[in-house]
Symmetry: C3
Subunit: 372 residues, 3 copies
């Protein structure tokens, strides 16, 4: 991340980033661009994979079984027995192996069949695919792409999970849409109108953008036009003053960033200290990549009187859940419109989102699906 | 309607209209003929569209939003924001405009985008489709076809809604079949066998037919073969005597008529006075036009002692609902058979229905869908 | 069956029948091979078809109506009226005919239309397909294929239904998979690992196989490795001793046989007497043949003290239901994997199952479906 080539556009007018032109509808349909599998992607929470209990997960239509054997570290296999393709996750962990529930074939952590109970010799040479597998920040990551690239690809250290100055919340809703809608949703803070019931009359003020080969970021400040500031928002963002947008001194800066394939949202206070840190990965479930499993971590800096945050924590949970529910509804409506129209009709006027769309297209899987 | 070229076939034998020949299975499959959109078609009841509350409707796969703004008359737009295709019906009516729920773009009654909140200039030139829209008889009609034809196409004045001598009932069941099955069902009164549990052993007597460029009609009288006449039927049709069909003096005449794309059923008593008037429109919902939203109005002439009809009204409702439920079941079974067989295998022996099928095919939308 | 050309392979080593080679993935996909319809196949239990009540059944996407008329034997027709394809099973049996519920057309046992109520002449020459139909062993069999072959094709005499020395249980679960998975499941007794919770640590010992032009069979004995023998299993199989597999004297022999298209499992005791007899037919429901209606009969020999079997009967029912439920789950998972992979990836190591697969492919319907 440190060596990335940055070129920030500092707009002379805070709103100059917005134009009325739009990206020509050419090139691949973003909603048909598969996620690039040559990354470490989360498929489960660590606590879900219990010792001795196979756990079924999925990546882009590929069934996976996560196994925490009686001895040794966790491993991940294709969740289909080599014999009759029955899910290994329905089977039984014995020692370091997983035995298929049907005829009892056993496979080791490399996916090799080591026992066919009714054969005279051990194993039969056949096997199932093994996936590189790591744990970080309470998440189980697999590497679904070319395994040779796994070792030199960094495993994410999401958020402030291990930082005692922050309190971290996990969330993992499933959303019925292509992952790209999720990136666009968070990146374009002009959608605060959607959350007007939760957040009142708040307006995002675009402060500039940055981009590089593998990232796009946008910076915002927020101004309240009227109404009271909700308590939970105040805890997340600090207290706002009711002032004119154009003359407002900047308090906090919200930075949304897609560092392909992950996304983060960070809030720094007026002293430049990080006060909120959000990390999200959007993991395609089906082969069509039109269902997305979200894995998210939200870290909030503990105030000086730490019990205040603990007290407010449930309220904060409800607040963020409501916000997320509104986002989920709207991105699923976008996906539904895409289905009905048979393709992407997006008319984008916000350059940051256009840059994001370019990033997602050029970073995606090389082969673009042509059929639905 | 008055200038239509009529040629009535008065059969010498009341049953001569029926032959054992059948329409050759050639030409387009009627169930793949789309309804002609160059007509005023109902998409909602007026009372459903409340002031300040956007209402989502649908015509043949096209989502519509009906808006009764704070000032000015009702209008209809395509229910997709020009920006990201999210339904405008989820948005907020402000003045005469509708604002999208997501990023707050606002559209006027012409469908033009008049505000993008985070742009420096009003609107961005883009817009959504506006549909001509009228209210009549408690229904909201739109013109889904070529808008240039809307002005010279008459808006229906359905039934006896505004006639104080009649009491009118609304109904709007949704039926899982192509609209053509509905037209055929009502037109062919030989299907009284279907309603034998509701109406007893009644037999339709075909009295002749008429047809013109844009209509087909059939006239029937009814004879009861045995059993008691249900009360509700007696109120609808008057009292029948148990007499031989061939010698029976004609009491009431039932006239069923498809005046494309609408359908009516009228009962005139022996003095030629209208005593019952039914008006129905069958509105395709999905793009495949295999789901139909019915909008119907049933006007019954008030007897001299008007309270009698008020008393009988709930019974009449139950009676007609049961009849309709049986019709719904049978047309949905027809549709299901069509799906399984992959096409229309109808073998029609009744010339009126053959003429009706011709009318529906030649009046339908010019392009016939070829795929399911 | 008596004239079939047998050649039994008696293995010198009980396990020699198992190798690590596998059938090359060539030739037709077994899961796309339709069942050969030129056989008598059950579509209902006799008791389900009541006098005067039409009964709807189905064979491989073809709807059937079974009619037990007021007089004369049961008959079977295509369940679609010749007029508008509405199911005749929704109609009314009158005398020996079935009248369609919609316009009252009547059909006789040959499928000829004998009455159109509003026509001047009896019938109109059109008709619906009639299927040869027989009853045997409490089942209604139809012949869905070429009717000219029906007379010379034997109607099954399933199981020991009419043998007073046996008590017989019926079962008829529906399974969401191709019929071939069911044949393979029962034939390959090495899948006892699946039933370890129901049957304890039991191991199948392959004793040899047989095959002919139209059948494949496998013989097994069973050995218990440890744990107590469940009561129900003991009633079904007799008491096992806990002994070493290789030295165990053979008590009972289990013979599983697919005599196309039926399957049987018989247990003979050490004196060679039949003690259990299972007969099953797997009947495709949809046109894609990926849903199977099972019709099975399980006959158990009554012990000397016959009331013992009556006492144990409910337990036996629960036991066999649980076993069957596990089988149903696993074959449905196989079918699901087939769907996801878009074809059969079975890697078979057991020669009996390979022979069975060959039998099912070469005996199946001549035309192999190419699309899903």
């Amino acid at each position: 991340m440190l060596q990335e080539k940055r070129h920030f556009d500092a707009p002379n007018d805070p709103r100059s980033g917005v134009t009325s032109d739009h990206v020509a509808r050419s090139g691949p349909d973003l909603r048909r661009v598969d996620l690039n599998p040559d990354f470490w992607l989360p498929v489960a929470w660590s606590h879900q994979v219990r010792r001795g209990r196979p756990f079924a997960a999925r990546y882009a239509g590929e069934p996976l079984v996560l196994i925490r054997p009686e001895t040794g570290p966790l491993y991940a296999l294709e969740d289909r027995c080599a014999h009759r393709q029955v899910p290994l996750s329905k089977g039984k962990i014995e020692g370091e192996t997983i035995r298929c529930c049907y005829h009892g074939w056993a496979f080791d952590r490399k996916g090799s069949c080591v026992t066919v109970p009714y054969l005279n010799k051990p194993g039969n040479g056949r096997g199932v695919r093994a996936y590189p597998c790591r744990e970080s920040g309470g998440l189980v990551f697999v590497f679904p792409g070319n395994p040779e690239l796994a070792a030199r690809t960094p495993v994410p250290q999401p958020c402030q999970v291990d930082n005692p100055e922050f309190k971290t919340r996990r969330f993992d809703p499933r959303v019925e849409c292509h992952y790209s809608f999720m990136h666009e949703n968070l990146m374009d803070m002009n959608h605060q109108f959607l959350h007007r019931r939760q957040m009142g009359q708040i307006t995002a003020r675009f402060m500039g953008q940055g981009r590089g080969e593998d990232f796009v970021e946008a910076r915002y400040s927020f101004a309240r036009k009227g109404g009271d500031q909700p308590l939970a928002e105040r805890l997340l963002f600090g207290k706002h003053k009711d002032i004119d947008v154009s003359q407002q001194p900047v308090d906090e800066i919200v930075t949304v960033r897609t560092s392909y394939p992950y996304q983060t949202l960070q809030i720094h206070d007026k002293d430049g200290d990080l006060v909120m840190d959000l990390w999200v990965a959007y993991v395609p479930q089906g082969q069509d990549q039109l269902t997305t499993q979200t894995f998210g971590l939200l870290s909030v800096k503990r105030p000086k009187w730490k019990f205040l945050l603990d007290l407010a924590w449930p309220v904060l949970g409800i607040f963020t859940d409501r916000i997320f529910h509104e986002d989920k509804e709207v991105v699923e409506m976008e996906q539904q419109a895409w289905r009905e129209l048979g393709g992407d009709h997006n008319v984008e006027v916000f350059p940051v989102v256009r840059n994001l769309r370019d990033l997602l297209i050029r970073s995606g899987a090389p082969t673009v699906r042509t059929a639905l």
